[in-house]
């Protein structure tokens, strides 16, 4: 399963787990500035529809470059978007973490994410398969790409006032 490389993945697993949990914690707390700091500017944050891998030529739920990520967060924060003022509250769990690949300083991680949102006294549950491409830097991991595949991405969804 894991393509064993020179990197010791046994020692790596607790490190990437800590990173994914910290990211999940930031997203639940809506600490978006700190979340933006986790990114490499050239990275894309993508929620695809269906099983496509050609995100540029497909319709996605979102396919954000650095500017779109910042605009999205600005929109959440300005208070003019009725759906995100106030936003739904979320509690998420990230688990089933698998190191898919580790080559040089680039690590690919698969994980499962469950998000429960609450708004209007109504709760909704979302499940997703996530793939993070992380880069190990002197100041810790940075996200080069994050792909969140909702289990029902090609089905009837609701609108989201938060990030996965």
């Amino acid at each position: 399963m894991t393509e064993m490389s020179k990197i010791d993945t046994t020692g790596l697993l607790p490190q990437v787990t800590e990173f994914l949990w910290a990211e999940a914690d930031l997203l639940d707390a809506k600490e978006y500035d700190r979340w933006l700091d986790l990114w490499q500017p050239e990275g894309f944050y993508t929620l695809p529809i269906g099983d496509t891998t050609d995100f540029a030529n497909a319709l996605n739920l979102c396919h954000d470059n650095d500017k779109m990520r910042r605009d999205r967060i600005e929109r959440f924060r300005q208070g003019f978007s009725i759906s995100s003022a106030p936003p739904a509250q979320t509690v998420r769990t990230v688990s089933r973490i698998v190191i898919e690949k580790a080559e040089g300083d680039v690590i690919t991680i698969r994980s499962a994410e469950h998000v429960i949102e609450d708004k209007f006294g109504r709760q909704r549950v979302w499940a997703a398969n996530m793939t993070h491409t992380l880069v190990a830097t002197d100041s810790g991991f940075r996200i080069r790409a994050k792909v969140v595949r909702l289990l029902n991405s090609d089905g009837m969804l609701n609108s989201f006032s938060y990030l996965f």
Partner: protein, 424 residues
């Protein structure tokens, strides 16, 4: 009508002559049932765009009102729309949303149907006796017609031809809308789907509501560059209009200079498209085609709203599917240029993602206010919902009244048709 459902014998109380809508219209389950019968089973309902099932044997699942249907192209290219229900014991014969096949087979007892819905074969037919007639046990077929790639179906065998139902003005606007293929055929590139706890008419109203735009979509407008933001200031400039096009249809022209995309092609290319234009030039497209494609990428300058379930909305199709009196599914179909430059289609995809769908900068705010309408109607049962805005300064248009860009003329067109159909 009073005979089958005396509860709704007074249609004027539901939609008054001075354009007031009764609260019941959004929340009475009996009225909803009646609407499914008197409207969705009786008129032309949009089911698919040609490009969604392009080849012989291609199909897609859709709905007509509450009823699941299969839209399919047979070996000769003819389009069939059939109820997705086996004639034996009612199981759906297809649960694949989209694909290609040579037949449909019921998974329960193996009855097999052709692409035109005819019953081809069934296991052990002997027990039905010699007089069993396969011809009478095909999938239930709907009357199907299309206009400029838009496929409609109806259960009503006696209804007027589709083009007559649409009318001359709607057909003219459909043709204008399709110019955003930029010289290529318009194709569906994908779709966003979300369900909203609201009555279907709340959505029907919204597609012809310019009044909400600067309020609900302020956060979207703030994310635009100055020049593009300017284009969306249609309430400020007041140049546009809303016009009743007959049979419940209407047009809302927000950006009149972009009604016909072939007009003013010599106008300077907007800032946000300069990079794309250069890319197309570098790919070898001649300047006149570059201008045409770039103009098309931004979409048309109007919403064309068809009663009862589809809107041609600037750059995409918006389709509503009623689920229950307080639940409606929405699909936003992204459009592109079939065989057109990848860079242009990519830009259209990114523009669609920017506003539409569950994570767009626009749709979630729409969904929120629609739900707020449904929640609000729980109070003040006797208070009317007002769609009388702009009655004061309407003028005669080509086929019906024309009002200010923020007028509720399009909603009145839809409710007039609603009333006509509910009274039959």
């Amino acid at each position: 009508m009073s005979l089958d459902m005396p509860k709704f014998s007074d249609l004027d109380a539901l939609y008054s002559s001075d354009a007031k809508v009764a609260t019941q219209m959004y929340e009475d389950p009996d009225l909803f049932k009646l609407e499914m019968d008197k409207i969705f089973r009786k008129t032309w309902v949009f089911v698919a765009h040609d490009s969604e099932f392009p080849d012989k044997g291609s199909f897609k699942l859709s709905t007509v009102g509450l009823e699941p249907v299969i839209v399919v192209r047979d070996r000769k290219g003819a389009i069939h729309v059939m109820v997705n229900r086996c004639r034996h014991r009612a199981a759906t014969v297809c649960e694949v949303k989209k694909g290609k096949t040579s037949s449909f087979q019921c998974p329960y007892h193996g009855w097999g149907y052709g692409l035109d819905g005819s019953l081809r074969a069934l296991p052990y037919p002997e027990q039905y006796g010699d007089d069993f007639n396969k011809d009478q046990h095909g999938l239930q077929r709907l009357r199907t017609e299309s206009y400029n790639g838009m496929v409609f179906a109806t259960f009503n065998e006696d209804i007027e031809p589709l083009v007559d139902f649409l009318g001359s003005e709607v057909c003219r606007y459909i043709d204008l809308f399709m110019k955003q293929g930029g010289g290529f055929p318009v194709t569906v590139l994908g779709e966003h789907q979300f369900t909203v706890p609201m009555n279907w008419k709340v959505q029907l109203e919204n597609t012809t509501d310019a009044y909400h735009f600067p309020v609900v979509h302020k956060s979207f407008l703030q994310s635009l560059d100055g020049e593009t933001n300017e284009i969306f200031q249609f309430l400020e400039t007041g140049k546009g209009f809303v016009e009743d096009l007959g049979n419940g249809h209407s047009v809302m022209a927000m950006i009149p200079e972009l009604i016909d995309l072939d007009d003013n092609l010599d106008a300077p290319i907007p800032e946000r498209f300069t990079e794309l234009a250069q890319e197309l030039r570098d790919e070898g497209y001649p300047e006149d085609q570059v201008k045409k494609i770039v103009r098309a990428v931004g979409g048309a300058g109007f919403n064309l709203n068809l009663f009862p379930n589809v809107s041609f909305s600037l750059a995409f199709f918006r389709v509503l599917t009623p689920i229950s009196v307080e639940q409606t599914d929405i699909r936003h179909m992204a459009l592109g240029m079939e065989g057109g430059p990848a860079a242009a289609n990519q830009m259209r995809l990114r523009l669609h993602e920017h506003f539409q769908g569950p994570m767009g900068f626009g749709s979630p705010d729409d969904a929120e206010v629609w739900e707020r309408v449904q929640r609000g109607t729980k109070g003040g049962e006797d208070l009317p919902i007002l769609v009388n805005r702009g009655l004061v300064d309407e003028t005669p248009g080509t086929l019906g009244p024309r009002g200010h860009i923020s007028a509720e003329t399009g909603m009145r067109a839809a409710y007039k048709m609603w009333k006509r159909m509910m009274s039959q």
